[in-house]
Symmetry: C2
């Protein structure tokens, strides 16, 4: 058993887990964090196989959760840019140990899961 005071108590996650465990969600957070801001179709292109319906749903989830910000420039053709809120950025940082764990683990097991990686250089 565990109490709320235990730093490893998982109950705090209940609210946000359905959002961030959705397919593509962490990917998009990572992408936005890295690029600063992106347009709808930019995200589509970088994800590769996400349908517009799915992307629109997930962005809505992330917007509602306050993790992502949406800026609409009232132009024609329309331009909309998505970026991380401060909350989203801190989430991204909070995920680092998990990513590190996964990376170490992959190497230990000689997994080669990197083929599907996004490959452009850091800015």
């Amino acid at each position: 058993m565990q109490t709320v005071s235990d730093p490893r108590c998982i109950c705090c996650l209940r609210g946000i887990l359905p959002t961030i465990s959705r397919k593509w969600a962490i990917c998009i957070i990572s992408l936005l964090g890295h690029s600063g801001q992106m347009r709808f179709n930019e995200i589509v292109e970088h994800c590769g196989h996400i349908s517009p319906k799915t992307l629109s749903e997930i962005l809505k989830d992330l917007l509602d959760a306050g993790l992502v910000e949406r800026k609409s420039f009232h132009e024609i053709p329309p331009r909309v840019e998505y970026s991380l809120t401060e909350d989203g950025k801190s989430l991204r940082e909070a995920l680092v140990p998990l990513l590190k764990w996964a990376k170490d683990r992959n190497q230990r097991y000689n997994y080669s899961l990197f083929a599907s990686c996004l490959q452009a250089p850091d800015p």
Copy 2:
């Protein structure tokens, strides 16, 4: 864009995400980490509303992933105990920053999601 060298590159998660994002998975990892070892029906009782079929599936996932260990004592009636492997334990620790982030965030938004918490004291 991002590279594999970026500690925030999410591609490493691809292998494990389907496993740990399943309903109950993180809960069970947290539970086992806290109790040391648990029997099948103990887990059921602590989760409250998990069906045996679901639990058995998730345990299988976690076993295959090498996060959980299964010890069967060949007795009658049967006794089986589940516990975290070293890998599972390190995953649990890697989740701490995420949990901390979620906790801070809940407090910031005055969420009261703690009602559903596991409530026995720490050992």
